[in-house]
């Protein structure tokens, strides 16, 4: 197990370097951070050159990257457009997005698994078919559309929820944005659970459990669900990183000042340190979530643990 973790960690390193370098390349090589600093005005060439030297921008790209990463590992993410340090932005933004993500994951887990179990056990019947069609419809509506739709219905028409989130970001105001963020993943979790349950319900070991005279609820929770949730756990794990990155749309709709908001501002204003810093952290979160899933997999499935 320990060796396995180390191997996975080592495998993550090239992926981490590759992904961050790619983003770094896009921002620093395709764009011009110095020109962006001056906005519309053309910078004085001498000043521009001096800034370049100060920011280490005159070195070859790979050296810049190494320099940047070195800085990051010393906790220095640079300065954002308004003079705030990027670290400060992160400290204010990440907890907000984390809360939003947690709300979303809880919603997708609870609702998705319940719906999936429900329709998987009734495979081929009316409820099952409706759930399947509904999930496809949900998957087809892009988040920015469903976001406005739900905001309009719940927030404006019916007044059930706040249409935008106040700066303190209380949990109850995050329910609607959380649902919007979770919606597409929710549909996937439902379908995944449903397929998994419908496949396993005919499995020999479930038949054995029934033949042992176990009560129905025990057959379902202990034997059927435990096996069927393995792929679902995998999905949710990889989804955590994806949700944090995907919060950009939801945060814009509900005016939440989280990671997505800061990144969006950073991209609009072409503020390179903000963009690269935030994306680097997101990539790291994504990779760690994947690692966690792999480990969880081994815990849930002994066939892998002892392989």
């Amino acid at each position: 197990m320990g060796r396995y973790v180390i191997r996975r960690l080592l495998q993550m390193i090239p992926v981490f370097i590759g992904s961050t370098f790619l983003i770094f390349f896009m921002v620093y090589a395709l764009g011009d951070p110095v020109a962006a600093m001056f906005g519309e005005r053309a910078p004085d060439p001498a000043t521009a050159a001096q800034i370049r030297r100060e920011l280490y921008l005159d070195a070859p790209l790979w050296k810049q990257y190494l320099h940047y990463m070195g800085q990051i590992f010393q906790g220095n993410f640079g300065t954002a457009f308004n003079g705030q340090s990027v670290i400060e932005l992160m400290v204010s933004a990440f907890p907000v997005t984390l809360r939003l993500t947690v709300v979303a994951v809880v919603i997708e887990m609870v609702v998705g698994v319940v719906l999936g179990v429900f329709s998987g056990l009734r495979r081929g019947r009316g409820i099952d078919t409706s759930v399947l069609v509904l999930t496809l419809v949900v998957v087809s509506i892009p988040t920015f559309v469903s976001g406005y739709l739900l905001q309009f219905l719940f927030g404006v028409q019916w007044g059930w929820a706040a249409p935008s989130v106040s700066p303190e970001v209380p949990l109850n105001e995050l329910l609607l944005p959380g649902l919007v963020l979770a919606l597409v993943s929710l549909a996937y979790v439902t379908r995944l659970t449903r397929t998994s349950i419908a496949e396993n319900v005919r499995a020999d070991y479930v038949r054995t459990a029934v033949a042992k005279g176990l009560p129905r609820h025990r057959v379902i929770t202990r034997h059927l669900l435990r096996n069927s949730l393995i792929p679902v756990v995998t999905f949710i794990g990889t989804d955590i990183g994806a949700l944090m990155g995907g919060a950009i749309v939801t945060e814009r709709i509900f005016n939440i000042h989280g990671v997505g908001y800061q990144l969006y501002q950073g991209i609009l204003r072409q503020n390179s340190p903000t963009v690269v810093g935030f994306v680097t952290i997101l990539v790291l979160v994504f990779l760690l979530a994947n690692l966690l899933v792999d480990l969880l997999y081994a815990v849930l499935d002994p066939r892998i643990r002892y392989a």
Partner: protein, 346 residues
Amino acid sequence: MTHQEAAPEPTGTAAAVAEPPLLDVRDLRVEFRTRDGVAKAVNGVSYHVARGQTLAVLGESGSGKSVTAQAVMGILDSPPGFLTGGEIVFQGRDLLTLRREERRRIRGAKMAMIFQDALSSLNPVLSVGAQLGEMFQVHEGVSRKEARARAVELMERVKIPAARERVGDYPHQFSGGMRQRIMIAMALALGPDLIIADEPTTALDVTVQAQVMDLLAELQRELTMGLILITHDLGVVADVADTIAVMYAGRIVETAPVHQLYKAPAHPYTRGLLDSIPRLDQKGRQLYAIKGMPPNLTAVPPGCPFHPRCPLVRDVCRTDPPPLYEVGPGRTSACHFWKETLDGAR
């Protein structure tokens, strides 16, 4: 065949009268409703088993032997399977009239089942100890610790070496034979009165087959349980069975005490089965094979279902389904020409 309360005359018929059978299946009917039509998988099957007796149910795949057993256990997949008629009388009670909860309490405790493929029939993510102990936790409400101790006892009983160390292992860590022993242990856990073994040795290596079969027979004798042994392998049956029921296309075509059936079958299908066993003393001769294929259960031929493949077929076979003729004491045959068949064999 020692009966607890020794009947004065332990002849077959007298014993049957003195003690009602442990399990009495009467005219059982099961159909599968699928997209392609209704398949009558079990079509009026009757058989019975007494305590300490072994009934072998013999037939090709698709003959309805496993479906009958699943119906008896109450683990039929429904849909598509539906029980459409008959009675299953177990220890004097018709199981089909019981409520679901009462039925559940009987499953595992009074009657238990052993499946063919132990690897897929055991839950891959639970330790064998947990799966064995679960029987005691659910049916007897014992603590987890106690259940684990009883699981070790069970494993020792079916002769799994180092049971105490291996109780926490998972099914995939055992060999095929050991896994099947665990299945047997699971079936034995609560001291059932009836065990249904569905092809218990088919998935095993030949060398292991005999060991597992011996263990099963030994435990059955020791505990005087009723055993229904479902198989397609005539070789397995000869040593352990008391009675044989041969099934074809959802019906029982012949029932007989094992030695009589081997000596002189009363149905052409049984005869065909016996003739297709390779025998050492007939080396060099071409093996016999029953011609044709088993019928599609959605379109069973009219008359005798075996008639398209039968070497003795006559006109009446194509129109009139044969009843179960009483051929001798404890012997029946569903063949219009059972006498000829019987005589031809002698």
